[in-house]
């Protein structure tokens, strides 16, 4: 959740062709651009919300983990010196706290105290286990779990209250940033940056900012935790219309289609069935014929 760096930097990736196609434009946060010799590697980990594999950038020496979110960006290009370089895909790399990735594992084993190496176990992808253990050294697990020492065994159990306490200040921070950056959090907001909409219509309440911040954070949370967090924040549960979704797995879809999907998401969940009888030509003619005639109920009194 680190602020995104503004310095674009192009990385020539030769390794891992499976992950990388050509002509990617990667935007890195400042923290990752300082050290040229870092041992950065691309790894796949389960995304905490979708449980699908997503690409992360991990540096063992720097002790950083960052997520890569890519956006198909075809038919674009930029100049580098005298060369035109095409862009097929834009990637945003943002630092992420590994603890978010652990949450689903902890929730899974929440019924009892377990040693860490039994909690951070991916049944279908055992190759992740080592990595997860390594990542666990970067974090303070006490923020989401209760620790218990029995002899020389260290046991952990997921603690929802702690997790919520840990998440709440994050949301407050995000909403503060939203307020200071004057980001439009209006529902269904599609705001042009080149036109200024009159101030009054943009006045959002604290609750709206909080909800927007919550939506950002909950991209990294499982749906159950999302719900308890919403309760914890005291925000009423409403059908979210513009909830953003982490759907990296759909990243090959071209942008147009993607945009369409979002539109579908914006539809209210339940369409109220409006039983309006179809107007036939006859009905219309009758309606026309009725014009100029007084209503019959003006002559007859209503029976109560």
């Amino acid at each position: 959740m680190a602020p995104r760096g503004r310095k674009p930097k192009i990385k020539n990736e030769q390794e891992n062709t499976e992950l990388f196609e050509k002509n990617r434009f990667i935007i890195l946060p400042d923290a990752l651009t300082k050290d040229e010799n870092a041992d950065r590697q691309l790894i796949k980990l389960r995304h905490p919300q979708t449980n699908e594999l997503a690409i992360f950038v991990y540096s063992e020496n720097d002790k950083t983990l960052a997520q890569m979110r890519s956006l198909p960006f075809s038919h674009r290009s930029f100049f580098k010196g005298n060369d035109v370089i095409p862009i097929d895909r834009i990637d945003f790399v943002t630092l992420v706290d590994p603890i978010f990735l652990f949450l689903p594992y902890f929730v899974k084993c929440s019924s009892m105290f377990c040693p860490l190496d039994q909690i951070l176990v991916d049944e279908s992808l055992p190759e992740l286990n080592n990595l997860l253990m390594k990542l666990s050294e970067l974090t303070n697990l006490k923020q989401i779990a209760t620790k218990k020492e029995v002899g020389d065994l260290i046991l952990w159990q997921y603690n929802e209250n702690k997790t919520l306490e840990w998440l709440t200040p994050k949301i407050e921070k995000v909403s503060k940033v939203l307020i200071t950056q004057q980001i439009n959090v209006n529902q269904n907001a599609a705001i042009s940056s080149s036109f200024k909409v009159c101030e009054t219509s943009l006045q959002a309440t604290d609750e709206q900012y909080k909800r927007y911040a919550y939506n950002i954070i909950s991209e990294y949370l499982h749906i159950d935790i999302q719900k308890s967090l919403l309760k914890h924040l005291g925000l009423p549960e409403i059908v979210e219309c513009n909830k953003r979704k982490a759907d990296e797995n759909k990243s090959d879809v071209n942008k147009k289609v993607k945009h369409k999907e979002v539109e579908y998401d914006e539809m209210p969940f339940q369409v109220i069935k409006n039983v309006t009888p179809k107007l036939t030509a006859k009905d219309k003619a009758l309606k026309k014929a009725a014009s100029g005639t007084k209503s019959i109920s003006s002559f007859f009194k209503k029976n109560v």
């Binding site: 006859k282 309606k287 014929a289 005639t293 019959i296 109920s297 003006s298 002559f299 209503k302």
Partner: protein, 259 residues
């Protein structure tokens, strides 16, 4: 429990034909005394009031007053499944949400039954005050239907003027104008074939022709139609249904155009 048996299902068929174009759905109020229906069309310009007396049925039983919201289009569909001479029985339980309609041929060889879902209709009931009408015109229903049909080719509204001499229907439109004048003739043997006018005061009112045409759909129910008019009150077009009751249409007059 409600049960009504009608020897000629054709009668109900004609009744539905007479109201289905004005009303899409209606509440049938059943009581001891019979079945009543009152409803306004969508535009709230006309009102249909129908009464079928219990004595007109072959068998009639209604333990508890019952209001059945019926989609008329669906009912017409069911009625199309019978022939005019079939014996028909309508049945519903108290508080039921369906209505059962059974047909049997007069020789009892074929029996069919249909179940129709009822609707919850929120309809307001209007009280129709007793009125002494200035003019009461009785004329053959086919004649009235013919006049309305003819005049509707010329204009959208019909002026009905009733004087001592007779009754004049007139209209005008893009083509030109049309006038039909009927005078009293009680010389004919059968009463329903003549035109009679009871008049206290001359009346002249304008009505939407299309509505009159819809009222004329009830012509098969009765050979005679009774038009009652008074200044600035709705016109009443009444058809007596032999032995069973009546169907009355009320139509508000058109507001005089000032221009």
């Amino acid at each position: 429990m409600f049960e009504a048996r009608l020897l000629k299902s054709g009668q109900l068929k004609k009744i539905l034909e007479a109201i289905k174009e004005l009303l899409k759905e209606a509440t049938f109020d059943c009581s001891d005394s019979g079945i009543q229906l009152q409803a306004m069309d969508d535009a709230h310009v006309s009102l249909v009031s129908m009464c079928l007396k219990s004595t007109g049925f072959d068998k009639f039983r209604c333990d508890r007053n019952l209001s059945m919201g019926i989609n008329l289009e669906s009912m017409v569909k069911i009625m199309k499944c019978c022939s005019n001479d079939d014996i028909m029985t309508i049945k519903a339980q108290d508080n039921a949400d369906t209505l059962t309609i059974m047909f049997e041929t007069s020789n009892q060889e074929k029996m069919s039954d249909y179940e129709m879902k009822l609707m919850n209709l929120d309809q307001e009931h209007l009280g129709i005050p007793e009125t002494n009408y200035s003019c009461i015109i009785k004329m053959p229903s086919t004649e009235f239907a013919r006049i309305c049909r003819d005049l509707s080719q010329f204009g959208e509204s019909v002026i009905i003027a009733c004087t001592k001499d007779g009754v004049k229907f007139s209209t005008s439109g893009d083509i030109g104008s049309a006038n039909v004048k009927l005078s009293q003739n009680s010389s004919i043997d059968k009463e329903e074939e003549g035109v009679t006018i009871e008049m206290q005061q001359a009346v002249c009112l304008t009505f939407a022709c299309r509505y009159l045409n819809l009222f004329c759909k009830a012509a098969p129910l009765s050979p005679q139609v009774i038009l009652s008019m008074s200044g600035d009150v709705p016109l009443v077009v009444e058809y007596q249904i032999e032995e069973l009751g009546y169907i009355r249409y009320y139509l508000a007059p058109k507001i005089e155009e000032d221009d």
